[in-house]
């Protein structure tokens, strides 16, 4: 009966009705994309991090090489990784990045938590507007927001002009091209990434719990420490991760606001890759960075599964 009414050939109809094929096709398209354009690139980075630099294009030796028809020669070269742990410049860059990312994360939490807390405590009519006002800088150009700080902090910049004209200082204070400027720029750019997840958890907080606690005579600060803070833990953790990881690899902010001494990992990868044309070492730095990032992520994953069970 069904076959009689069908406009298409029976085989085609069967294919259309076949759930298995449709399902696999749906899964297959994005799966294929993400494997080819995300997983394979990282496999290539891993592979190049074990190879040797040579002159030419591409500037590295392939890992696998057919010496004659029968022998597959594997050049596995650990030299790049050994260099990372012996040459001081790499250790310095890792230390700088971790230090600045930690400063940035702590200040974002210190500024972002009270803001998110009071946003969530505002009237329901105000909340969408307050949220929109946090989203707006998050959506507008990152590069231009960094550029704005160059005009504020520079020697002829707004702060120095004001301080000079008021007679507070006689000479411009150098605020730009140092670690202070880098930290400030990173805090400014990553603050919305901290506020948004914090707000999302704080707004769902059950107010009756807090009221119950204060009715029972609990001090406001104690209510905060024993109820609000523990219940917003997931927001704190995801905010910190969203700030810490990208700020560790930040490239644009130290380049525009930092001095020659702020040598972070992003800059290191850039210089090794473009200036020194040492693709293998650049790849090795990237691999070590990924490993450093995965450790806290696994820790968080564990924490989440524990919470659930």
């Amino acid at each position: 009966m069904a076959q009689k009414n069908s406009k298409f050939s029976p085989t085609f109809d069967r294919i259309l009705q076949n759930k298995w094929i449709g399902r696999n096709l749906l899964v297959g398209i994005p799966y294929f994309w993400i494997i080819v354009f995300f997983l394979i690139p990282f496999a290539i980075v891993l592979q190049i991090s074990f190879s040797e630099v040579v002159e030419g294009m591409p500037p590295y030796k392939p890992l696998l090489e057919w010496v004659t028809d029968k022998f597959l020669h594997v050049h596995l070269n650990l030299h790049n990784y050994i260099m990372l742990f012996t040459d001081d410049i790499y250790g310095f860059a890792f230390w700088q990045s971790i230090k600045l990312a930690s400063i940035c994360t702590s200040f974002c939490l210190l500024i972002g938590y009270p803001m998110a807390y009071y946003m969530a405590r505002s009237s329901e009519r105000m909340q969408p507007l307050l949220l929109l006002l946090v989203m707006l800088p998050f959506w507008s150009s990152f590069l231009l927001r960094v550029y704005a700080w160059m005009g504020i902090l520079g020697n002829g910049g707004i702060i120095n002009t004001i301080l000079l004209s008021w007679g507070i200082i006689d000479q411009p204070v150098s605020l730009l091209y140092n670690d202070f400027a880098v930290a400030l720029g990173m805090i400014y750019c990553y603050l919305p990434f901290m506020i948004l997840p914090l707000y999302a958890t704080l707004v769902k907080l059950d107010m009756s719990l807090l009221e119950a606690a204060s009715d029972l005579g609990c001090q406001p600060f104690k209510v905060f420490l024993s109820i609000t803070l523990p219940l917003s833990k997931t927001g704190v953790i995801s905010g910190c991760i969203l700030v810490f990881i990208p700020s560790m690899g930040e490239f644009v902010i130290p380049e525009l606001l930092g001095g020659s001494e702020s040598f972070m990992l992003g800059k290191l990868i850039w210089t090794e890759f473009f200036n020194n044309r040492d693709w293998p070492v650049a790849s090795a730095v990237a691999i070590v960075m990924i490993i450093l990032m995965i450790v806290p992520l696994i820790f968080v994953q564990r924490f989440h599964t524990q919470e659930k069970s």
Binding site: P30, W33, P41, R145, G151, G156, T161, M248, F251
Partner: protein, 269 residues
């Protein structure tokens, strides 16, 4: 009383920190002096010069085309990924898929950029496509990043809505495809719009990944801006910033109004 003062002070200081830099950018774009932060009178001359800067205009055109394609592809791929993650309770390699699809959200751009360049160099050698440094390569790179954002936006809207409508439609004889277009799609439309806009902005704003992937024939707008601000302040960039920020603000306000209306309609029904 004291509590309210504290609340107001915190919010005012916080928003001042977020907005003062943007505000200074806009104010000094109308400054007639070449020294960006010394006020010398109102002028629109930097806007005029901006529209005569062909290098910048060419780059803007390239960026807009890439952003448009990137936004469209990432909405399609991101929505598909979110649907799969929500609807298909289990399939082979679901965990791997979930990890990979969200990974670009936390990966520092410098690493993603490096990985993309190495991929495109190898792909061009092996299969000759896409031409490395070309617009296609840039679009692919931006799409992979932006689809992660679309997936997470659509995902969070899909998990919050009840399957009961779909089940009802299917019971009444609607095919899966029909129930998707009649029910699921209208419900997730606001997040598709938000996802499209966010992808567009992300692509239009990206410097690091583009610097790795782009070649001399596909220099994007942020790359031109970056190389000109690296050597100090230029009033033209302030003018450009004012245009971009007002445009984005307008888009977001329209989106917010549409969203509020949609919400009202859903609540009334």
């Amino acid at each position: 009383m004291r509590k309210n003062t504290l609340k107001l002070a915190t919010l005012i200081l916080g928003y001042a920190f977020l907005y003062i830099p943007i505000f200074t950018l806009i104010v000094f774009s109308f400054n007639s002096s070449k020294q960006v932060v010394v006020w010398a009178g109102f002028s629109l001359k930097w806007y005029g010069e901006l529209f005569e800067n062909t290098e910048l205009l060419n780059a803007a055109w390239i960026s807009l085309r890439i952003a448009f394609m990137c936004a469209t592809f990432s909405v399609i791929l991101g929505t598909l990924s979110a649907l799969i993650l929500v609807k298909f309770k289990r399939f082979r390699g679901k965990n791997l898929f979930q990890t990979l699809i969200m990974a670009p959200l936390v990966m520092p751009e410098i690493i993603t950029g490096l990985a993309f360049l190495l991929l495109f160099v190898n792909m061009e050698r092996l299969i000759g496509w896409p031409a490395s440094g070309g617009i296609t390569a840039l679009t692919i790179a931006h799409t992979t990043l932006a689809m992660a954002y679309v997936t997470s936006i659509v995902y969070s809207q899909l998990v919050n809505f009840d399957d009961i409508l779909i089940e009802a439609a299917m019971d009444l004889g609607a095919s899966p495809l029909k129930s998707f277009f009649a029910i699921t799609l209208p419900i997730i439309t606001p997040s598709l719009v938000a996802g499209w806009l966010l992808s567009f902005v992300l692509s239009l704003d990206d410097v690091v990944i583009s610097s790795f992937v782009a070649g001399p024939q596909s220099t994007t707008l942020p790359m031109v801006v970056y190389s000109s601000v690296k050597y100090g302040l230029t009033p033209q960039i302030n003018a450009l910033a004012t245009i971009i920020i007002s445009f984005i603000a307008l888009c977001i306000i329209i989106a917010a109004i549409l969203h509020a209306r949609h919400q009202k309609m859903v609540n009334q029904n």
